[in-house]
């Protein structure tokens, strides 16, 4: 996340601001994305209560890195429908550290992101952004899709599981608390093991299917993907989300993304159904349909 120079230098950024801005300092701190100190509400076992329906507001699903506004597919038919907004990189340092030889595949992904061909099992996944096909988005992408998700957190040792339920494609993750089990087979949403470090929920995710992408720009990974997430409550209405992404086959070093998650505050807000499979059947299987229709 890009921060003003003054804030980057100080160990406690509020100090120089306070001396310069006086009573406006705390408001200015909010304006540049700094949260005042916060002690979260807790469940009976003493851990912060992360239960809630959350959603990000970044446009990272279009592109994790800096991106300008862009038209969607077929703007000559759809106008602004399907267009994407501009957005600033959520990658710490701005750029994803690809291995030079791995960039070619990102480019190819981007060029073929809106194509599909499921006529041959061997190349079933070769073309097309999985999000476009209504495939499960993987981690961390699920957390910065423009759709809400619910964190379901119990309390006590009798149930060592948390759930994250995503509205998009009804994707679900089970987080196994304090587990040492390894992923049995690859999964689209990976294999998540959680633990608490102070007031931060740390989730270690492995066992990914290699076919998920990070965004619509074609950013991708291999089967070696390893993600470590950190969820920290920073206000009654925000979690700060960080993910460290590691994949030695594709990147030269681990890299981090960071953005807030916002609590849905609409009265009686709930996830609704977004089972998008029927929206993509004609795209995927239309070539096999009997024509003309009998």
């Amino acid at each position: 996340m890009l921060m003003p120079a003054a804030a980057q230098q100080a160990a406690t950024p509020q100090q120089p601001l306070a001396s310069q801005l006086g009573p406006s300092a705390s408001q200015h701190a909010l304006d540049i994305g700094q949260f005042p100190p916060y002690k979260p509400a807790r469940l009976p076992d003493g851990h912060p209560d992360l239960n809630g329906t959350w959603q990000s507001m970044v446009s990272a699903d279009w592109d994790l890195q800096d991106h300008e506004a862009q038209p969607g597919p077929k703007p000559e038919i759809n106008g602004v429908y399907g267009a994407g907004p501009a957005g600033q990189s959520i990658v710490e340092g701005g750029e994803i550290p690809y291995r030079p030889e791995a960039l070619a595949k990102k480019k190819k992904n981007f060029e073929t992101r809106a194509m599909v061909d499921v006529s041959n099992d061997k190349t079933w996944h070769a073309l097309g952004d999985p999000e476009m096909k209504c495939y499960m988005p993987g981690v961390p992408r699920a957390n910065y899709l423009p759709y809400p998700f619910r964190i379901v957190q119990s309390s006590g040792a009798s149930n060592p599981y948390m759930l994250i339920s995503y509205e998009y494609a009804s994707a679900t993750r089970i987080i196994r608390m304090n587990s040492k089990d390894e992923a049995p087979i690859p999964a689209w949403m990976g294999w998540s093991r959680g633990r608490w470090e102070g007031d931060t929920l740390v989730v270690d995710v492995t066992g990914f299917r290699e076919e998920t992408w990070f965004d619509r720009a074609g950013d991708y990974h291999s089967d070696q993907l390893h993600v470590v997430e950190r969820y920290t409550p920073v206000s009654p209405f925000h979690l700060m989300y960080e993910a460290t992404i590691e994949d030695p086959k594709v990147f030269t070093r681990p890299w981090k993304i960071r953005f807030p998650l916002y609590r849905h505050m609409e009265q009686d807000f709930q996830l609704l159904e977004f089972k998008c499979e029927p929206f993509t059947e004609e795209m995927l299987y239309g070539r096999f349909v009997k024509r003309p229709a009998p």
Binding site: V152, S154, S155, S170, T172, M265, L271, P278, E281, A293
Partner: protein, 372 residues
């Protein structure tokens, strides 16, 4: 009669316990919802709905740290007990131990994937041997009932009422699509049912056991019960705070559920089913009513019971009871991605077009050979 009969034969206490629990249960008063400017959040300091007036419970009863009955865990509902009581055992709703073992063995034999009788027309449907199937599916329920239906007493689905011409047309279209599918000559992906299309599978309530992956993860948080069936990776997030259902113009394949505690029993009412969907037993989505009840019976058992009602389909409501068995930590639920790798659809459709190119004309097959 049932309970006395069961007690005489020493049938496991579960059957008796279920009857006793229903007597113990009392209506817990519903706390009026406070109008709020932000979503109500149950924290450690605010009491769970009704908990301050819950009946006194045994020390061994299962409770979450915030006082709700605890249904959490990974549960499995597989069984060989049929939904309806087979003809020939009209008055026998419960079998004694010897009868139950015989019944189970015969069902297991009928269901066995390793049988070789019946010729190839039957054998082709017996692919995947037992290891690909739920390990508990060859067992009858512990209470030795001869049907999962407990009401009406004859263990059968009640008589059907005549359906409207419109529903009959939909029924016939589905039957015709199935016949094309059975012949291996579907016209379009819409000739497949929702499970084959990987939209919903066993997660559309009410829950019924099938041949594999009969698993459910339940996680609770203050004010919610969340049920995550294995197929197809969805969650039912059920608020317990008495909020109204979603608006009548919103419809979902899994319906919209609201829950409350009736003593130790979670009671769910589910509405807002999609009108265009083939829901449970081809009932009418507009008038179908579903009530489910979950009761933790002991450390490893939940009693799952549901009542369905639809005056446009059945002459009376009927009730089904299926025990759920806890399987974690030894066994776990795993991701069931479905749509992502559903080669079947392109195999079926592509294969049909290929056969047509070769001049094959397959006759639609309304019913495939009866086999497990």
């Amino acid at each position: 009669m049932t309970h006395r009969f069961a007690a005489t034969l020493g049938i496991p206490a579960m059957v008796i316990a279920i009857g006793s629990l229903s007597l113990l249960m009392s209506q817990s008063p519903q706390t009026a919802r406070k109008p709020a400017t932000e979503p109500q959040r149950k924290s450690a300091t605010s009491p769970a709905l009704g908990s301050s007036e819950a009946p006194a419970l045994k020390p061994s009863s299962f409770r979450t740290p915030w006082g709700d009955p605890d249904l959490q865990g990974v549960w499995n509902d597989a069984t060989s007990t049929p939904l309806q009581r087979p003809t020939g055992v009209a008055s026998k709703d419960i079998l004694n131990d010897a009868e139950a073992e015989e019944f189970q063995d015969q069902l297991a034999n009928n269901l066995s994937r390793n049988r070789r009788d019946g010729g190839s027309e039957v054998d082709v449907n017996r692919a995947y041997n037992e290891h690909w199937m739920d390990s508990r599916r060859l067992k009858v329920t512990a209470d030795h009932r001869t049907s999962l239906i407990v009401d009406p007493p004859d263990g059968k689905i009640p008589p059907l009422v005549p359906i409207s011409a419109e529903r009959q047309k939909e029924h016939d279209e589905r039957a015709a699509a199935l016949a094309r599918f059975n012949a291996g000559m579907p016209n379009t992906y819409l000739d497949f049912d929702l499970p084959i299309r990987c939209v919903v599978r066993t997660d559309m309530p009410p829950y019924m056991p099938i041949i594999y992956n009969n698993d459910f993860q339940i996680v609770q948080s203050p004010g919610y019960v969340v049920i995550a069936p294995e197929m197809i990776h969805s969650t039912r997030i059920i608020p317990l705070d008495g909020r109204p259902h979603i608006g009548k113009n919103l419809h979902e394949w899994l319906g919209d559920s609201r829950g409350h505690w009736d003593g130790n029993t979670l009671v769910l009412e589910t509405t807002n089913f999609r009108p265009d969907t083939n829901i449970f037993q081809e009932a009418d989505p507009a008038t179908f009513r579903l009530t489910e009840r979950f009761t933790r019976v002991d450390a490893r058992t939940i009693n799952y019971e549901y009542t369905v009602e639809d005056p446009h389909t059945w002459t009376r409501p009927w009730t089904v009871r299926i025990p759920w068995t806890r399987i974690d930590p030894a066994e776990q639920m795993y991701e069931y991605a479905c749509y992502e790798d559903n080669y079947d659809v392109s195999h079926f459709l592509g294969g049909a077009r290929e056969r047509e190119k070769r001049g094959e004309v397959a006759q639609p097959i309304p019913h495939l050979p009866s086999v497990q």
